[in-house]
Symmetry: C2
Subunit: 312 residues, 2 copies
Amino acid sequence: MSANAFRSFEREGVFRPTVFIEAPRLGERLGVKLLLASETFQHTGSFKFRAAYHLAASVPESFILAASSGNFGQALACACARLGKRCLVVMPHDSAAAKVEAVRAYGGAVELTDTSKVSRQERVEQLAREHPHARVASAYDDPLVIAGNATLGRELAARADDFDLVVAPIGGGGLTAGLITGLRAAGRATPVIAAEPLLANDAARSLRAGRIVANDHEPPTLADGARVLCVGRHNWAVLQPSLAGIVEVSEAHIAEGVRLLFTLANLKAEPTGALSLGALLAEPERFRGRSVCCVVSGGNVDAATFRALLQG
Amino acid sequence: MSANAFRSFEREGVFRPTVFIEAPRLGERLGVKLLLASETFQHTGSFKFRAAYHLAASVPESFILAASSGNFGQALACACARLGKRCLVVMPHDSAAAKVEAVRAYGGAVELTDTSKVSRQERVEQLAREHPHARVASAYDDPLVIAGNATLGRELAARADDFDLVVAPIGGGGLTAGLITGLRAAGRATPVIAAEPLLANDAARSLRAGRIVANDHEPPTLADGARVLCVGRHNWAVLQPSLAGIVEVSEAHIAEGVRLLFTLANLKAEPTGALSLGALLAEPERFRGRSVCCVVSGGNVDAATFRALLQG
């Protein structure tokens, strides 16, 4: 992929621009000047559409396979529908009905797999052997994913005079790697700090160890978009030299982030999307008095979960 | 006020642009092509800031009195703070603490009045006699309010090729009168349909009667922004000849509108803000197959109320 390719998507209006929201009451509560960059209104409700579309548009294959229980599946289905391609998303058999329905609503095929018998990744590999002309897409470890997410970095770059630093969620690392890539391509040195669930702190441990460290199992954090074993190696190559730090966020601070966004910024965020707010709650002294752009990565959370989060 | 005055506010970036959200899944559910125009991220979380700022900036008085239990109070407090003016907002003594706190957070003074002894309007009149140099502001019956809200109409006019008609909530009528004024000033004949709670259907009855008809008492609708006795006479002068119709919306459809915006558009709306969605649910045949712009007028709803709405 070339820089021209993603500039062309931007020109064509493929991606919805991120929604910037100045949040003075919320910022006052947190002791910062706060700008939110919300991807909750992106196509399919999360930043994942940027990566999925960029990938689906850039590969020659017309059939794409992926394992996803969440936002990437919806994003890929929507992207393929727009591009006249097909996709098959492998999801755990006990996925929430709403998530399965969402992938199908965007025109994606779904295969439910009993993950106690065969892992999703194994099942995708089986399918890849059955469909040798298919492309297997990774939700977070592919240069095309970084390039897609870099379009958000370029949008932040255009507003970068308004803030000192960017805080964004980290799971597999595709978002933060994309933000750094996009900001630097636009000539901006703005520091990017990642916000990671304490329960799934493999990226923080990796940064301390100087090499990729994996979780033993998929961590049971509220932030389901960060339930990964480890950062992708393509992302790591960007993140290790360039990330300005990682804040580890407790489950309580993730939930409090969801509530504060709801109450003081009228924003519906999914728990993963509230990680950046949670980082400001976790280490207030690190951010106090600064101008911070918090990326809210997505808004896809079902009503029952959200009700429980609001109750606290 | 002149057309130049509000163009100048727009130029200065006083108002945040409305957030347009294409909502294909929600539109599909409702059988329409749907564009949302969300004022939930406007300063103070509702369109009322447009009217409040325009009024506060246009009058010579530096002290403004108003009765408001809701969004207008916050909006006026915020507008006055920005303009270096003072305001006093009279609120019922049993107002939700969060609403009182919000007015104070924006720098407004609050007087709590026992409305079983003296109505808020009477108390404002008493205060006006005590403060002869103060301006008494109406939340919805003043040409300056219409002109302020017309700035939203002008924003819709710039996108009017994308939809056949506009649906917006009606309470006192300031929003719909402003939308019509702004659209027509920009040369757009786009029809505007009002969405009114069935429990508070004075505007619908007024349109049928050909004169302003009032409710006997403040109606107990979920849509607290529409709890008024009747439309303002300045608004009526705009609405009677120009409004394309009024849809009366049940409480169940208001609540369903809140849930659908949450689930299929990631939008946190207050019940009044969901009235336009409720109108599409109430009269689906009227809208089926059309391109509709639904104005979501505000997002200020507390967590407990929202949790109850999500439960259904």
